[in-house]
């Protein structure tokens, strides 16, 4: 028995390997470790409480100003005086400390950190935002924490973690036309449910995943939290290296992958060729249905953007649909970062959006969190490429939010009703 157990304990998941490395220990799922953090981020909804906690602790100097970023994205530009005051407080504190400031217009934190080279594969990254799990797409162990935990990280560069069990999602086969990584992850959440991966790492593998771009992989990892996951994670491959090579030197990162005999808490196998376009229906992310089941539902507003689907390939997909068309629903488009905005301008995508009658807002979180740039009216039906459709999420308790891929969202915008991308080829 003992021998069997020893043999079984030899294999590790990628999450166990990264947390072992960062905690200088031999860690397995269930262990509590204190790990070194390679980069830490807080945004305008969470940073003010972090700064206040540091003041309460009496800490006036951060552990490493080059490894800390504050991002102004959730309410940017500020819609009211209260937010403006908190923005000013963040700027003042950030300048005094010398940490990295991504001010209004830079973009969404979860696009900026990978894009600007702050996400180091093989290391632990934390963010005071639940969608920090996005960076697992680069093979980092990245997870969301609260403001006071973040104050501890800003102070010491370390934090305690319970090493998570892993749900392994294997996706193999060719994705049908009109089906995207958003449809993969929504399908997974529909099967696993909103709490089915609680405390776990959600690891993706398989030839479908290898075919996906790093951006599309970010969409998968971004939504791990919507099943309760601690992180989403994908072992790096040549596409990952291609993505990071101009941002990081080879000696700056480590490539880990799970051992063949690693211990998984559960496994899910998906045949990509069976997948179809899906939506998460109101008011739960795990309320997932095929688009065809809700096709024809009248749509008042469409939002294309966010840390889930505001990247350049998402905008390209949308622009293809909008070209030479007019929107029938109020349509808001938000590039996830300034770089993406500039790229979209160079490619002529922004002109297509504006000519189609859409509203293009500055990089940031846009109307996702219900505070500005397009709060829907009560009774409105919204199709959004974001990650949450909780009642009240976008600022109205009586708006109905459907979550979809950029293709489904864009097509629904020009038709004024929910449409399956496969219905118009």
């Amino acid at each position: 028995m003992l021998l069997l157990k020893l043999v079984r304990r030899m294999g590790k998941t990628i999450s166990e390997k990264i947390l072992s490395e960062a905690s200088h220990s031999d860690a397995y799922a269930g262990d509590i470790v204190v790990a070194d953090v390679s980069f830490a981020m807080a945004q305008d909804g969470t940073a003010p409480l972090t700064i206040r906690a540091l003041e309460e602790m009496g800490i006036d100097r951060v552990w490493d100003k080059e490894k800390i970023a504050l991002v102004f994205d959730h309410n940017a530009p500020s819609p009211n005086e209260g937010v403006s005051k908190l923005h000013a407080m963040m700027r003042n504190w950030g300048r005094k400390q010398g940490v990295i400031l991504y001010d209004v217009g830079s973009g969404v934190c979860h696009q900026l950190l990978p894009e600007q080279g702050h996400v180091v594969p093989g290391s632990v990254v934390v963010g005071a935002d639940s969608h920090t799990c996005t960076y697992g797409a680069l093979g980092a162990f990245a997870t969301g924490i609260g403001s006071t935990d973040m104050a501890a990280v800003f102070a010491s560069g370390k934090l305690w973690f319970r090493v998570p069990e892993t749900l392994l999602v294997s996706v193999n086969g060719k994705l049908p036309e009109g089906v995207y990584s958003k449809d993969i992850v929504l399908t997974v959440i529909g099967k696993v449910t909103a709490s089915g991966a609680n405390y776990m790492a959600v690891e993706y593998e398989g030839d479908t995943i290898r075919e996906l771009s790093v951006e599309a992989r970010m969409t998968l990892c971004n939504m791990a939290i919507e099943m309760g996951g601690k992180t989403g994670i994908i072992a790096p491959d040549s596409k990952t290296i291609e993505y990071i090579k101009e941002k990081l030197a080879e000696n700056q990162y480590q490539v880990f992958s799970s051992d063949p005999d690693a211990d998984y808490a559960s496994m899910l196998e998906i045949d990509a060729s069976d997948l179809i376009p899906v939506v998460a229906c109101p008011h739960a992310v795990d309320n997932v249905k095929p688009v065809v089941e809700v096709e024809g539902t009248s749509v008042d507003q469409v939002y294309i953007g966010t840390c889930t689907n505001g990247r350049i390939e998402d905008l390209r997909i949308a622009a293809k649909v909008f070209k030479n068309n007019r929107v029938k629903a109020l349509t808001i488009i938000v590039p996830a970062s300034r770089e993406i905005y500039l790229q979209a301008l160079r490619e002529g995508l922004i002109e297509i959006f504006v000519k189609a009658g859409a509203v293009v807002c500055n990089p940031g979180c846009g109307p996702c969190v219900g505070t500005h740039q397009g709060v829907p009216s009560p009774g409105y039906t919204v199709v959004s490429t974001a990650n949450r459709n909780f009642r009240g999420r976008m600022g109205s308790d009586e708006a109905e939010i459907y979550l979809a891929s950029p293709h489904t969202a864009a097509l629904s915008a020009i038709r004024g009703e929910i449409r399956d991308p496969r219905s118009e080829r």
Binding site: G45, L86, S147, R388
Partner: protein
């Protein structure tokens, strides 16, 4: 010992229900924000909750965002303890960090009704339902988290000890 009256909630209570985004970005005044506690799921809660009351909920309490305003507004509204079948992990950590204890207790929803009075020994994880005369066991809280709650939260702990609980003495 914690003693309080029960407010019951279902599974999957998310952080947007606990404190909607439209309020939380504007201010750090938790007394002000506490007026909107649970507004997304029960608009009467904030007006009626009394100091010391206990929330009993189903699975996955606090799912969603990392906003620490969620446990903070419940604490400022007067809630002394949350007992749930289980918690979303960020909320679980945040609650202890702001000095609000939470207990994991599978099956609690079926053993407690709205308005029941509970007496809870946190260290032992022992819950006594005074209304029904029954006793329920919860998973014990890890020692270092109990110490954080005793201090009144992580910032207060650090101020008192000049180190974090996971750092060596």
């Amino acid at each position: 010992m914690i003693r309080g009256k029960v407010w019951k909630f279902p599974s999957d209570v998310n952080t947007d229900y606990i404190i909607p985004g439209k309020y939380k970005f504007k201010t750090l005044d938790m007394k002000e924000l506490a007026k909107h506690a649970m507004e997304g799921i029960d608009s009467e809660f904030a007006g009626k909750v009394e100091k010391g009351d206990v929330i009993v909920a189903g699975k996955n309490f606090g799912m969603g965002s990392s906003r620490e305003q969620a446990p903070l507004v419940l604490k400022y509204a007067g809630v002394s303890l949350i007992i749930a079948e289980d918690f979303a992990r960020i909320f679980y950590r945040n609650a202890f960090n702001v000095g609000l204890p939470v207990l994991i207790c599978p099956g609690i929803s079926e053993k407690v009704d709205q308005g029941d009075v509970l007496e809870v020994d946190l260290e032992k994880g022992k819950i006594v339902n005074k209304t029904k005369g029954t006793e329920i066991s919860a998973s014990p809280i890890p020692q270092f988290l109990l110490e954080v709650v005793d201090a009144g939260g992580l910032a207060a702990y650090y101020k008192k000890h000049n180190r974090f609980p996971w750092e060596k003495k």
